[in-house]
């Protein structure tokens, strides 16, 4: 098993453009060799003229010598827009976390339904009922482990126009993060409900990760000198097991320790709970309320925050504790959640991408 530490610095480290395609089937009007010149890694565009989206509706556009960049399928969609074409491309550079795809903005044609898959695991991303001519798709669900030998396939099953060719004018895989594998010197991270002494204590358990890296290419030093290293960059720690990435912790950068003449750099990370102390919480209006409803009020105020109970027993426990005419005058969400934990003897901890509520005893 291999440990990967991925740090999203928020800057593009490498993009790649479709460099080698396989497709099905062969285009009749625009042959692949006429589109792309592998010797120059450049698009040539279509030769001659090309019917617009629907060759049966008497409309057409003429393109000049510069051609029309992109890929176009040879077969066309049926009367309902259904089609089955795919386009595959290999990865290079860092594992991408975003896929940018642009269909045909000029003709306003696009894929309605399509999937993104890879050749290393069975994970797929399904996009349905799309209405955009360009999208940026998060690739996290593919759980790509290693770019070497990995290909991504975009399979289009429905086009927005009947009797029309599929067109993709841009397909770019973007990595805004770097994955550190060989550079890892040490890493320690927590998944704690109680403290190490397992003492009974309610409240929010803050998780941490301390990482040491060998900055062999000087990238981190460069980023530091450009003042790009900031707090709260996402850090994902995964174990790679048979080509699938198992995430064992997600944190946010808190403090970098980078010495100018030392290739070993240290990074302290924290979980997301600190952010809750910076969000104001409106005082609760007085009404009968269960602990479950109190927790829901607290987490809802955080917005875009996922939480769950550790088990159904804890869920039932929280729903059964009721305070008549409950109210609370509290300044922040963190303070409010701590108050709930204090009296209901709960413990809340962050794991990967959500808060988990458990009993502290």
């Amino acid at each position: 098993m291999q440990l990967h530490v991925n740090i999203d610095f928020g800057v593009e480290f490498g993009t790649f453009i479709l460099s080698k395609r396989s497709y099905s089937p062969q285009a009749n009007i625009s042959h692949i060799d006429k589109i792309y010149d592998p010797n120059n890694a450049d698009y040539l565009g279509f030769q001659g003229f090309h019917f617009s989206s629907s060759p049966l509706d008497n409309t057409y556009k003429l393109y000049g010598a510069e051609g029309y960049q992109g890929y176009v399928s040879s077969n066309i969609s049926d009367n309902d827009g259904n089609i089955n074409v795919f386009i595959t491309s290999g990865l290079s550079g860092d594992v991408p976390n975003l896929l940018y795809i642009r269909f045909d903005a000029i003709e306003d044609t696009y894929a309605v339904d399509f999937t993104i898959s890879n050749n290393k695991n069975t994970n797929t991303i399904e996009i349905t009922d799309n209405t955009e001519t360009e999208l940026q798709i998060n690739l996290e669900e593919l759980k790509l482990a290693n770019p070497l030998g990995t290909t991504i396939t975009v399979t289009i099953t429905k086009w927005n126009k009947a009797n029309a060719n599929v067109k993709i004018t841009q397909l770019i895989a973007i990595a805004t993060s770097k994955t550190f594998i060989d550079e890892l010197v040490s890493c320690e991270l927590s998944e704690n409900l109680l403290d190490a002494k397992v003492q009974v204590a309610p409240g929010i358990a803050e998780q941490y990760a301390n990482i040491q890296l060998y900055d062999k290419n000087g990238i981190i030093h460069q980023l530091a000198e450009q003042e790009i290293l900031t707090k709260n960059n996402p850090v994902t720690i995964s174990i790679i097991d048979e080509q699938e990435a198992i995430i064992i912790g997600k944190f946010y950068t808190s403090e970098w320790n980078i010495e100018g003449n030392n290739s070993i750099v240290s990074l302290d990370c924290k979980d997301n709970s600190e952010s809750l102390d910076h969000i104001n919480f409106n005082a609760l209006e007085s009404t009968d309320r269960s602990v479950h409803e109190m927790l829901t009020s607290g987490f809802n105020a955080a917005k875009n925050t996922t939480w769950e109970y550790i088990d159904t027993d804890t869920a039932e426990y929280c729903k059964s504790i009721i305070t008549p005419s409950s109210w609370s005058f509290t300044s922040t969400i963190l303070e409010f959640l701590n108050k709930i934990c204090d009296f209901a003897m709960l413990r809340i901890y962050w794991y990967v991408d959500r808060y988990i509520v458990a009993r502290c005893y």
Partner: protein
């Protein structure tokens, strides 16, 4: 089903044979959370400055600046008895007088925030503190000039001082001179949830006194209601053939006080008020004898200004008394107040935990439930242990928080307690990677 941990799976086992986390006494302190029966002061705020025409003034500095005039000018050649600049009664046939009064009104609001919910009827009380002063006139200023606060002679200052010292609040008009004591004046401390247009009887009419008989004490122009009033023992007789001046009357709406409360939410109330913040009265008079050409003139002014405003919010206070209660378990495992007090645990108290908080039914109070629950589980303490496992094993066995494990020691016997195999729950995981190893350190606590 518990995961079996053998010596092949772990290393660095440490466990305490003696139980840890013993709790034999628990203290809780739920709050009462009941409203009082009678209204009381919930909060008090002081207003120290106000904004007039876009300029901020501290309340002690309202002598100058701003004006909302509700005035009269009495330029007609009417006859008035007035005090001259020597402070003595003037016998005259013709007196010209000018007088003017100003009142500066201010509308403001204050939002009160309470830290406990507000319930029921709310009201506000305004308490005002006033200060008076008098101004001197420059004698060279001619009569025809409109009087200003800075244009009064020094003699009238002493007269004004005498007036203030000797006037009594015998009526709502005269009170204006006695600024330091508002205890008997209901206007100064309105106290109601909503006060609509409470009128101020500030100045009503000029009065003259007998032309012939001098008063025993210096006569002055006094502001009073439509009847005769004595001012510190003086008595004036109303002379019918002399016209009365007019001042601010009781029906003058421009000086109505209002004070309303609006509940914004459970914790905030806006108190909106309209009050006078400054009164100025100044008068200029000239009298002369038809015979002898004796001429005298005098003028004075008083300024009463608000120097302090306190607003009290009244309503039903919420009783948030903490009711501390401690328990141990008796020999029947029931709660008792005979405390063992060896290992105490105190629940943190806050407003969410009230006397009436319950679990499942209102008969099962939370304070009773949780104390018994914790004492039952922890009176005997828990066996705790720590050990390290390879990450591969942890991933394969899906080790997370609350995973159940039983630990077999090196001698192949299990960790037991009184002959029973202990089932541990994972309560903390430290995932450690170095160049040579990758393992999880588990902290376990007996279930």
């Amino acid at each position: 089903m518990s995961i079996q941990l053998t010596a092949y799976n772990y290393k660095n086992l440490n466990y305490k044979v003696t139980p840890q986390n013993i709790i034999d006494t628990i203290t809780v302190a739920p709050i009462t959370n009941v409203y009082e029966q009678e209204s009381s002061v919930l909060a008090t705020e002081s207003v120290t400055s106000i904004s007039i025409n876009g300029t901020d003034y501290s309340l002690s500095n309202l002598e100058h600046g701003g004006s909302q005039v509700s005035s009269f000018d009495n330029e007609a050649p009417t006859y008035r008895r007035c005090v001259n600049n020597e402070g003595t009664y003037v016998l005259a046939h013709r007196i010209l007088a000018k007088a003017r009064t100003d009142v500066l009104m201010y509308s403001g609001s204050k939002i009160f925030t309470t830290t406990t919910p507000i319930s029921g009827q709310i009201s506000a009380t305004l308490s005002m503190t006033w200060k008076s002063s008098a101004k001197d006139k420059d004698a060279s200023i001619s009569f025809d000039d409109s009087p200003s606060l800075s244009q009064l002679n020094s003699d009238t200052y002493s007269l004004a001082t005498w007036i203030r010292q000797n006037s009594v609040a015998k009526n709502s008009g005269n009170w204006i001179f006695n600024q330091t004591d508002f205890s008997t004046n209901p206007w100064a401390k309105p106290n109601a949830a909503s006060i609509d247009a409470q009128k101020i009887d500030v100045i009503t009419k000029w009065y003259s006194d007998a032309l012939i008989q001098p008063p025993a004490q210096p006569a002055i122009i006094c502001w009073s209601e439509n009847s005769n009033y004595a001012l510190s023992g003086n008595k004036f007789t109303y002379i019918n053939d002399l016209e009365d001046g007019e001042g601010l009357s009781m029906t003058d709406d421009s000086i109505s006080i209002s004070c309303t409360c609006k509940k914004l939410d459970n914790y905030r109330v806006r108190v909106s008020y309209t009050i006078p913040v400054r009164f100025s009265y100044f008068a200029l008079a000239r009298s002369w004898r038809l015979v002898g050409g004796y001429e005298q003139n005098g003028s004075w002014a008083f300024v009463d200004r608000l120097v302090g405003l306190e607003i009290q919010l009244n309503g039903l206070a919420l009783d948030t008394t903490k009711n501390e209660m401690s328990y141990s378990l008796d020999e029947n495992q029931e709660l008792t107040t005979n405390l063992k007090n060896n290992f105490n645990y105190k629940l943190e108290n806050n407003e969410l935990f009230t006397l009436s908080t319950y679990k499942d039914t209102t008969d099962n109070l939370w304070s009773t439930y949780i104390t018994k629950e914790l004492l039952t589980k922890y009176e005997k303490g828990k066996i705790v242990a720590t050990l390290d496992v390879p990450v591969q094993w942890a991933i394969e066995n899906n080790i997370h928080i609350n995973s159940e494990v039983q630990v077999q020691k090196q001698d192949t016997t299990y960790i037991t307690r009184k002959g029973t195999i202990v089932t541990f729950l994972v309560k903390a995981i430290t995932k450690k990677f170095t160049g040579t190893s990758f393992e999880y350190s588990l902290s376990l606590m007996e279930e």
